[in-house]
């Protein structure tokens, strides 16, 4: 058991799974000699050699397309998009093949692979290095989309993703890469893909979030609890697709109020689906409208103006209080 940050935890998952399963390989831009621009894959080249830790040319579609080929040949590629902002160049391969090969062949061929990509804002980076667009992947049938929120679940979910029979988009909140540490057990640990996690039980309001937004959500929850003694149930979505709406709906049926915190732009975002699921499964228990606290429908500003465009704890506190006070 060691205190690791998310970078170290993901590195540990890769190393352990590659130790265990000789068909697992890692590929992407700068993942080998450089150890990844965020140092996620550091040390893997030295340990596993250049056949299993592969620096590729600069071509996102080529990376995913060749990974699909590898998966069809029985390997388990874990490929990296250097930033999610460049991943749209592989959308054709993802939509046409990664998500469909199983259905196309009625289960005869699958493409078990993982696409790791750092996403999200808050690191004062150039344009295209700050977006959160998880629904573009989550909307596609056949896609699995996993978004860890901390070192421990990142490690456990990445191992699960590598073992999963389906293509998994593994979106890493880069803002959380080195933001904090958690105890991460040395021995292997996995978490189920396709399940939300109730990270705190409560009775007055359900607070739902994922990825980097879990931090301001938790902070805000603590503040509101302290300030007014409210009891919040907090849910970490963890798997965006397929979505475990039952866990969320069950909670809202109990609390009657819900706030969702999302980094992405509001319209057609993930919180809209969650709201719609609550409509389906818990409408008659709602005592207030579900509140979506989200990014705005604007082109993500450059970092000079970024701060006000990402939901922070103060906005979440306000949103929770408004929802609690709603009559």
């Amino acid at each position: 058991m060691a205190k690791l940050n998310m970078v170290q935890a993901i590195n540990l998952a890769l190393r352990q799974e590659m130790d265990k399963d000789a068909t697992v390989l890692v590929l992407g831009q700068d993942v080998a000699v450089d150890g990844g621009v965020f140092r996620l894959t550091e040390g893997l080249l030295e340990r596993f050699g250049p056949l299993r830790v592969v620096d590729t040319p600069l071509a996102e579609s080529g990376i995913l397309g060749s990974s699909i080929g590898m998966a069809l040949a029985g390997l388990k590629p874990v490929c990296e998009m250097q930033f999610s902002g460049f991943s749209y160049l592989m959308m054709g391969q993802f939509e046409a093949h990664a998500t469909r090969m199983r259905a196309r062949t009625q289960g005869q061929l699958g493409v078990p692979l993982v696409i790791r990509m750092p996403y999200g804002g808050g690191v004062r980076a150039l344009e295209h290095h700050s977006e959160s667009r998880e629904v573009l992947y989550a909307h596609l049938p056949g896609a699995k989309v996993v978004i860890p929120s901390g070192p421990r679940n990142a490690r456990a979910l990445l191992i699960a993703a590598i073992r999963d029979p389906d293509p998994v988009v593994f979106m890493e909140p880069k803002h959380s890469y080195r933001a904090f540490r958690e105890e991460v057990p040395d021995e292997e640990e996995t978490m189920p893909i396709g399940k939300c996690q109730v990270v705190q039980e409560g009775s007055d309001l359900t607070l739902v979030s994922w990825g980097a937004m879990m931090r301001p959500a938790l902070k805000a929850a603590a503040e509101v609890e302290q300030k007014r003694g409210a009891s919040l149930e907090i849910i970490d979505v963890l798997t965006m697709a397929p979505l475990d709406s039952d866990t969320i709906a069950e909670s809202v049926r109990k609390t009657g109020r819900c706030v969702i915190v999302q980094e992405a732009p509001r319209s057609y975002g993930a919180s809209s689906e969650i709201t719609a699921q609550i409509n389906d499964k818990a409408l008659m228990h709602l005592e207030a409208p579900v509140k979506r606290l989200t990014g705005y429908d604007v082109v993500t500003p450059y970092f000079g103006r970024e701060k006000n465009y990402i939901p922070d704890a103060a906005r979440v506190v306000h949103g929770i209080e408004e929802t609690l006070d709603f009559q």
Partner: protein
């Protein structure tokens, strides 16, 4: 301005059996009677199936499909040269090669009649990838398949096809570049059939040949007469051999012609003349192959007649099997979204079944 040349390239061309059936004896490969005849038999079977499918389509018994007539000499010899462990990565005009490789005739019929069953192989180890309708993607897949051979230390080769139009896609570029950087065992064959729907080869790209596109990746390139099965045989044998023994990928342009419409939904009269087509028919591959076999004393009219009867019967049997009533569960797609079970799919599956039941009830 005087500049010194630092790199030189050329595109070689290969033709062995010309359109009149004349063979260049110095270059003629030694297939032997049995394989030579087998090659022709596959080409004839593919042609027959293609023609039959056209009729079925016109009768409303089959969906839209892209005929392969005239392009049999590219994929048939190629598939014959492949070993069981190799990967056949088609575009969508390799009917002959698919049959050689062991795909049942009914698979093609099912596929073009809107059934995923057409992608389910009798044995997954046949190593035939389903059609990539999205053009270009398959080249990237093949690069990955070829990389996997290196990874596993086997000598399996990935053989990929693409059309002249397909060479314009980014996926073609990225896939070939990956294969070359990896020196992966991959052979890419461009079936330059002169057309991408209505776009003629000359408007697809400004390069003198398509073969030279491989120069961009530092790989051996070759242009061949794609209606000449012997040129295909020799070129592909060399390329597969090189790939299998660690020599890396090759890019081959096979010059052929799409004799029929793009798909059954297309009308070539909009963009080309009957004269163009007539010229191309004069060069089609089956006739010259038959002449070559006949010249060798391996074939005669009686053999031809027998073969025609045989392929007709085979196709007929396949059509019968294809059209025989089958139980094709409507809810099949729910079973193959994921390899694991999830509530959201199960929930919708129940909803789907309820809708069907209700509509059955209320008519």
């Amino acid at each position: 301005m005087p500049k010194k040349p630092i790199a030189k390239f050329s595109v070689p061309y290969l033709q062995i059996l010309d359109e009149h059936g004349k063979v260049d004896a110095k270059l003629e490969p030694d297939l032997g009677q049995e394989r030579a005849v087998e090659m022709y038999r596959w080409m004839r079977l593919a042609r027959e199936l293609d023609e039959r499918m056209l009729k079925l389509q016109r009768q409303g018994r089959l969906g839209t499909f892209p005929p392969c007539t005239g392009q049999e000499a590219v994929s048939v010899p190629t598939a014959m040269l492949m070993r069981p462990g190799d990967w056949f990565v088609g575009a969508f005009r390799e009917l002959g090669g698919r049959l050689v490789r062991g795909e049942p005739l009914t698979a093609t019929l099912d596929y073009y009649n809107g059934w995923e069953e057409g992608n389910v192989l009798p044995d997954k180890d046949l190593r035939i990838l389903p059609t990539s309708v999205v053009i270009g993607c398959q080249i990237e897949h093949a690069a990955g398949l070829a990389y996997a051979s290196r990874y596993k230390g086997t000598d399996e080769v990935a053989v990929a096809f693409i059309g002249d139009g397909g060479t314009s896609e980014g996926g073609f570029h990225e896939g070939l570049n990956f294969a070359a950087v990896w020196q992966a065992p991959m052979v890419t064959i461009c079936q330059n059939n002169q057309w991408a729907i209505s776009i003629p080869r000359a408007e697809q790209t400004h390069s003198e040949t398509l073969a030279q596109k491989g120069i961009a990746y530092g790989m051996p390139v070759l242009q061949i007469d794609g209606n000449d099965p012997l040129a295909v045989w020799v070129a592909v044998e060399e390329a597969i051999g090189r790939a299998r023994t660690g020599g890396g990928p090759t890019f081959i342009e096979a010059v052929t012609y799409r004799l029929l419409m793009h798909t059954t939904a297309d009308d070539p009269k909009k963009y080309r003349t009957p004269e163009d087509e007539k010229c191309a028919w004069d060069k089609e591959p089956l006739l010259r192959t038959r002449k070559w076999l006949t010249g060798k004393g391996w074939w005669d009219d009686a053999a031809e007649e027998a073969l025609l009867a045989e392929v007709k019967a085979r196709v007929e049997a396949a059509v019968k099997e294809f059209e025989a009533p089958k139980d094709r569960a409507q809810d099949e797609p729910f079973r193959h979204v994921y390899g694991t079970r999830h509530a959201v799919i199960d929930e919708q599956h129940r909803d789907f079944l309820a809708n069907i039941a209700r509509e059955a009830e209320h008519g």
